[in-house]
Assembly symmetry: C2
Homo-oligomer: 358 residues x 2
Amino acid sequence: MMGPASRGSRSVPTMRDVATLAGVSVMTVSRALHDDPRITDDTKNRVRAAVQQLGYLRNDTARNLRIGRGADAIGLIIGNLANPFYSQLALGVGEVAEQHGLTVMFVNAGRDVEREARLVTDLLSRRVEGIIIAPEGDDHRHLAAGPMRGAPVVFVARPPSGIAADCVLVDDFAGTKEATSRLIKRGHTRIGFVGLPSTVWTGAERFRGFQAAMSEAGLRSYKRYVRYQESDVTAAEKTVRSILALATPPTALFAANNRNMFGALRAASEVDPPIALAGFDDFELAGILALPLIVVAYDPVELGREAARLLLDRVGANAADVPPRRVIIPTSVIEYGPVGGSYNLFGRGNGGRAAAGS
Amino acid sequence: MMGPASRGSRSVPTMRDVATLAGVSVMTVSRALHDDPRITDDTKNRVRAAVQQLGYLRNDTARNLRIGRGADAIGLIIGNLANPFYSQLALGVGEVAEQHGLTVMFVNAGRDVEREARLVTDLLSRRVEGIIIAPEGDDHRHLAAGPMRGAPVVFVARPPSGIAADCVLVDDFAGTKEATSRLIKRGHTRIGFVGLPSTVWTGAERFRGFQAAMSEAGLRSYKRYVRYQESDVTAAEKTVRSILALATPPTALFAANNRNMFGALRAASEVDPPIALAGFDDFELAGILALPLIVVAYDPVELGREAARLLLDRVGANAADVPPRRVIIPTSVIEYGPVGGSYNLFGRGNGGRAAAGS
DNA sequence: TCCTCCTATGTTATCGATAGCATAGGCAAT
DNA sequence: ATTGCCTATGCTATCGATAACATAGGAGGA
C-alpha cells in the first residue's frame, strides 16, 4: 500500500533517474539521447537500456524552457467546429503544422471581443509560436503587435482592420458576383439575398458582389428581398420562409454561406415550383438535389494550409521586415442540378411510392 | 538599427525585468500578480504598472515546470477532421476542456499503428494531462498503462482491446438493429448493407446489429448484398452502384456511416423508383430528400464531452483505483421522408422546370 | 527603553534539461 | 620520462517562475 506521498502524482522518471540507473551523469544521458558522437557506443547502450527500463520520456516543458523555445505549437482561434468550413480549415492548419513538428492548440472563438482577447493572451502565455484567427468583430486592437508581444498572427477569412498582419481570404466578392450573374443569365430578375450580419467582413463582401452583379444587369429593386442574420440553419430557414411568403416572392435566392444555404434548402423544399438557389460554399449533396443550384466553391483546407504557411514563414525568421501579405483563395462557380441536364434527380410527387419494396 | 543580436529573438520580458523596473524582487512580483494579501497595495500598483509598461506575460512553460504540472492540455488523436463525426467530437472535447482551463492539442490519427504510437509519445513528451483517442486498428498495446506512463487515456467510438481503459461508445448494435427492423417493417426483404471494414469495431458492431434484425425477421439470404469498404464517399457510391446493378437488386440499403450514406445517396439518385435507405449518422439535409430515409441519430458532441469528462475525472485525482468505465451514448432512430407523410419534398420529373424563373 | 512579534519583502533552492567550460585518463611525440 | 593533446565524461550555471525559509523594520507590551 502506498502512503500519502502518492496522492495523484504518478512521478514520471526524469533524466536524473536514468543517469543514476545507468551510472553516469545527467549530461551524459542528454548527450547519449541526442546521439552525440563523442559518447561511446557502450555508454549509449547502457543509457538506452536504462531509458527502456524506466520508460523515460523527455520532458519537453523543461527542454523548451531551457532552449528558449515555446510550446512548439500554434494557436488556432476559430468559430464553431461544427461548421464544416471551420473544421476543414483546422484540418489544413493541422496538416502543415505537423510537417513542421508543431501541434495545434485550438480554442473556440468567443462571441465577444473581450473573450477573444483573453484567449489570445492565454495562448501567448502558453508560448505558442503564433496564432491563426478568424476574428469575430472588426475591432482588432487585441491582435496588434503590442498585445501579441511580437508573435506573428495570421487572419483567415477576414482581413485585419487597423493593424498590419498577414491574411488569407476567400475571393468573396468575385465568387458571389459570378454566381449571381449566372442566376441572372438564367433569366431571374427577382433575386433575394440571405446574408450574414453586415458587420462581418465576409458578409459585407459577399453582399457587395451580389450588388455588383445586380447593378451590372440593371436590376435595382431587390432591397425588399435582402436579409441579414446570424449563421444558423434554423434562423435562415425561418427567414427564407418569410421571404417566400411575400406577395411577389423572388424566383431565386443567394445564400451567403452554408448555414444559410441549408436553411434555404429546408424552406425551399416546401414551395412548388422550386425556387432557384445559389450560395457560398459547396456541399456534398449539392449534386443530387432537384432544384436549380449554383454554388461558389473553394478549398477551405487549402485556406488553412496557406494560413499555416504564412504563419510559419514568420516564426523563427527575422520576418518583421516582410510587409503584411494577403493571399486570396480563388473560387469557382459550380452549376448543379436540372440545368446541367444530364442528372437524374430525386423527383417530386413520388411520396406515395415511398415504401418501394413493400 | 539593430545589431546581429536581434536575429529573430523577440526577447519577451520576464518577471525579472518587471522586478527591476518596479524596484522590487522577482518574488514580490510573483506574489503581487497572484494578489497575495501580504503585499502592500502600493507595491502591487507599482508592479502592475511595470507589467503594463513592459507588456509582461507570465511564461506558463516555466511556471508549469516549477509547479509540476504538464502543459495544461489534453491530447486528441482522431481521424479526418473533415468528417463531421470527428469535428463534432472535437467540439465537445474542446468545450469541456475549456471549462477546466485546458486547451486541446489535436493531431490527425495515423493510418498505421506505428505512426499512432509516435503521436502518443509525442503528446506525452509534451506532458499532456491525458489522451482521447479514436484508435485505428485493434492493436492497442501502445496505449497500455506502461507506454502511457500512467497518463489516463479514453477511447472514443471504439473500445480498448487487451488493455483496461475508459471508453465512450455509441450504441452501434442497438441503433443499427432498430433501423434495420424499421426497414423490414416497411416491407423490405431484400436489404443490402454497405459496411465498414470488419476490422473496425464500429463496423463489426453495426453489421452485428444488421444481422440480428435480419435473423429475427427470418431473413437469411442477404449475403450477396453485403459489402465492406473504407469510409470514402466516392468508393461507396461505386459500391452501391454495383449492388444496384445486380439482376435482383435490393429494395433497401443500410449504410454504416455518413460517408457510405452519402455515397449511397449519390448512386441511389440515379435509380427509379428510389431505393429506401437507412444508415448510421444523421445529417442536416436528411429531412428534405425525396426517398424513404431512416437514420440512426446520436450526439457526437456529447460523445466528445463525455470522453473529456471521463478523462478529466482521472486527471489529478488518484483515480487509478477506479475500474475502467464504459459509457454508451444512446441512439435514436429517425424516419424522414415520404413515409412520414407530411413532408413536402423535392420532386422527381420536374427537371424540365428547372430554370423556373426564366 | 528594550524586547517580542508580526508584517512586508528578500534569498535560496528547485522543477528538468542543456550550453559551456572543466577535467581525468590515455596515447603519441620528443 | 615528460609534455601535450585529444577524447569521454562531469560540473556548474541557466532558462523563468515559485515554495520554503530568512530577515529587516515597525508596532506594541512590559
